[in-house]
């Protein structure tokens, strides 16, 4: 499979670019909701529009009413989301939760997917426990209780947790905290009693929760896949989410870079356009080179995911780590090259820096994934 977009993908990219550039633009979405202190951190209207475009169900099988496309296509949408810093539940709902739900029973899929496809529902995933992503260790427990389970524990960094109609929760049904096996995924509806959200606004104006489960009673129906067999679904969900986050990160990097290169062509100091200064030229050229490389890694990882390659796990971590590093460089260079005005809230470049930071942390930062690459490479 060549690593450039085929005609259909190129067309999708055009469509997504135009849609996000207009409807998802910074002024129209991010600043709009931020300046109103919106409790969701995103607009439901746009989510509905994305449903009309078919984006919400992009990864879902046609049998479930989705578009039946792959991670390359989801990545195309996410890159445009990243470029425009568009706040939306796409990554958590249409990529992460959707990835898990496709492994769910007919009942579960029938219960949750139509709302997602229609843009009426929003889903979140509850994985992390503690400040750093470490899904190898899951202490939240679900104990057998009658026909169902009793869920106890606490999850952190649940993005859009308080806005979600349903949370995909990874919990331990057997074994000890660091065991690979013994994990079960649950689809927990928002009205489950005993679930409590402490909502916090993050640096990028998105909303997340610390969510506690205090003996939450769940039906057996809430189980996604097999009891104790959730690790496989969790891993697949994480891979999808990491590649998706990386695709969005490439968009953030490109958005910051494009804005900065434009600025280099406009701003004058010492009687010259600052883009004429060779030191800045070389830094911009280096950044371009890094962004191109990161982008290739993301497309490759998405292709491997779509072809269910054994290398997908490795390349998902490569893509996530590389993008985190490169997008970090892009926003730092962006702010520095903008100089003083780059520090003001009025200019958009700082918003890229904020989003990059939150995205870098989501599902594992560059250090976590570099470490994973070493492990997967046998050292």
């Amino acid at each position: 499979m060549p690593l450039y977009y085929d005609d259909d993908q190129a067309m999708l990219a055009d469509t997504a670019s135009q849609f996000m550039g207009e409807e998802g633009a910074i002024g129209k979405q991010l600043r709009h909701w931020r300046d109103r202190n919106c409790k969701d951190g995103f607009g439901h209207g746009l989510w509905k529009q994305m449903a009309e475009m078919g984006f919400t169900g992009i990864l879902l099988p046609e049998a479930d009413g989705g578009l039946g496309m792959g991670h390359v296509e989801a990545g195309i949408v996410l890159e445009e989301i990243g470029r425009n810093l568009t706040p939306s539940p796409f990554l958590t709902s249409s990529v992460l939760a959707a990835s898990a739900l496709t492994e769910g029973s007919d009942d579960l899929r029938g219960r949750w997917l139509p709302g997602l496809i229609a843009g009426d529902s929003v889903f979140a995933v509850a994985i992390d426990e503690g400040g750093k992503h470490r899904p190898e260790r899951i202490a939240t427990r679900a104990e057998k209780s009658g026909n169902g389970f009793r869920l106890s524990g606490r999850k952190d960094f649940v993005v859009q947790g308080a806005s979600a109609d349903m949370l995909v929760v990874a919990a331990r049904t057997s074994g000890s905290d660091s065991d690979a096996d013994g994990i079960t995924l649950f689809a927990v509806p928002k009205d489950a009693s005993g679930m409590n959200h402490e909502a916090v606004r993050l640096v990028d104006s998105s909303m997340a929760t610390h969510t506690s489960f205090d003996g939450v009673e769940l039906d057996g129906d809430a189980v996604i896949g097999e009891v104790d067999g959730g690790r496989t679904i969790l891993n697949a969900m994480l891979m999808a989410g990491r590649v998706g986050a990386a695709a969005e990160g490439v968009g953030v990097a490109r958005g910051a870079m494009d804005m900065t290169v434009d600025y280099l062509k406009q701003r004058k100091q010492f009687g010259k356009l600052i883009g004429e200064f060779q030191a800045l030229q070389h830094r911009a050229a280096h950044l371009y080179s890094e962004v191109e490389i990161a982008r290739a890694a993301v497309v490759k990882a998405a292709q491997l995911l779509d072809s269910e390659s054994e290398r997908a796990d490795l390349m998902a971590s490569v893509a996530k780590a590389k993008v985190a590093k490169v997008a970090g460089l892009a926003v730092r260079e962006g702010v520095q090259m903008h100089g003083g005005i780059g520090m003001t809230d009025e200019y958009d470049i700082g918003l890229f820096m904020k989003r990059e930071r939150a995205l870098q942390e989501f599902l594992g930062d560059q250090y976590y994934h570099a470490g994973r690459v070493a492990e997967l490479n046998g050292y």
């Binding site: 400040g131 104006s205 520095q336 100089g339 700082g350 820096m353």
Partner: protein, 397 residues
């Protein structure tokens, strides 16, 4: 003047006793927010009696500006004595009694370039906390290339009429007076700038606060709309420091001074704490992040040595005059990296923007704020230009 060790020891004991008697316990607590800092000025209010008592005791002793001559409101301390005072204040964590751009910036300029009458008037006002100054340097079109500034003062015989706009004026909305770079000759880029002093209450001056990516800030935009500035404030007190059209010399002097201050030499000790603190809180460090922290510690601890060396050399005049640029460059880049790592160490908790647990997003806001370190007071790029030209003597730099 030189001291025997005995003289200094005696001075230390006197100082210690004086501080004991005059520095209230509340003034020995760390500064928590801007309220805790006393800036002086026409509209100054004290947060509490302790702040007032401490300020007044220092003012009366000349300890708001201990190294300035007594006739200008200082205590006339010699450098070794001033060092003893600093050490003794640090020992009890005494707060600074008065913070002021007058002390840090205008004062040194006046001491170097001012007339006797200017010193008498302005330095005493500064020392006594009676006036709060702000600095009008940068303009929207003149950042790194400061000398291209456009704010213009038209000569009207006994006064100038000033029009233009400044940016990054810290506390312009709270200052009484401004020291301001104004173009007074359009024909000569360098020799056409005047270092002007005037009242912020003058008609035609307005300010607008700047919101930063890190949140609220003391920075303002400042606008001058036909502001009339008299050429003299009395016998021997011209409105400008130095000569008319030669304000660039004053500005350059102050920029060097500022870089020396910013470049400060702290950091090493503070830093090595990130890794240990993280280990305490997380139990087990991500191994790649640990390696990054380790490599950072190497750089930070080495930089702390350089800071010590730099200060030692400054004291005896051995430092290269352009060395502050190198210190500023390396120090600010390091500080940005430190905060990147603190964000990584803090993980998702550090992303929180206004939660109570994070003291209103302190980690994130500090991280964002440090991004300005390598911009304000001369960008890293300008610092590198200066090093290349003045230290390495590279051609055409």
């Amino acid at each position: 003047m030189s001291h025997s060790d005995g003289d200094l020891e005696q001075f230390r004991e006197q100082t210690r006793a004086w501080l004991e008697a005059n520095c209230p316990p509340e003034m020995r607590e760390p500064v928590r927010d801007d309220d805790d800092v006393f800036w002086g000025g026409r509209n100054a209010t004290f947060k509490n009696d302790a702040q007032k008592a401490w300020f007044e005791a220092c003012r009366d002793k000349g300890y708001t500006v201990p190294a300035w001559p007594k006739e200008y409101g200082g205590a006339g301390l010699t450098p070794p004595q001033a060092k003893v005072l600093r050490e003794e204040m640090a020992r009890i964590n005494a707060r600074s009694p008065l913070s002021s751009f007058g002390i840090w910036m205008l004062g040194p300029a006046l001491l170097q370039f001012g007339t006797e009458e200017q010193k008498q008037r302005f330095l005493n006002e500064i020392a006594r906390g009676e006036i709060r100054w702000c600095q009008g340097y940068s303009e929207p079109g003149s950042g790194s290339d400061l000398v291209s500034l456009q704010t213009f003062g038209e000569d009207k015989g006994d006064h100038w009429v000033v029009n233009g706009q400044k940016i990054w004026t810290s506390y312009a909305d709270k200052a009484d007076w401004i020291f301001c770079l104004v173009r007074t000759d359009k024909a000569d880029k360098y020799r056409g700038i005047t270092f002007m002093l005037f009242d912020m209450a003058s008609q035609g001056v307005s300010t607008k606060p700047i919101l930063l990516i890190s949140g609220n800030s003391p920075f303002c935009e400042t606008f001058f709309d036909d502001v009339s500035v008299p050429k003299s404030y009395g016998e021997g007190i011209p409105a400008q420091v130095g000569e008319v059209n030669r304000g660039w010399d004053v500005a350059k002097y102050l920029l060097g001074h500022e870089r020396e201050m910013i470049s400060g030499a702290d950091g090493g000790e503070r830093t090595a704490a990130i890794g240990a603190a993280m280990k305490r809180s997380v139990g087990e460090l991500d191994p790649v992040l640990r390696a990054e922290l380790a490599q950072f510690d190497v750089d930070a601890l080495a930089y702390a040595c350089m800071g010590e060396k730099f200060l030692d050399e400054v004291k005896v005049g051995k430092a290269h005059p352009a060395q502050p640029n190198m210190m500023k460059y390396a120090g600010t880049e390091l500080n940005k990296r430190r905060h990147e790592l603190m964000m990584a160490a803090g993980g998702s908790r550090a992303l929180e923007w206004d939660s109570e647990e994070t003291d209103g997003g302190k980690t994130a806001r500090n991280w964002l704020r440090t991004k300005a370190n390598s911009i304000e007071g001369g960008t890293s790029e300008v610092m590198l230009n200066v090093i290349a030209k003045r230290i390495l003597e590279l051609p055409g730099a």
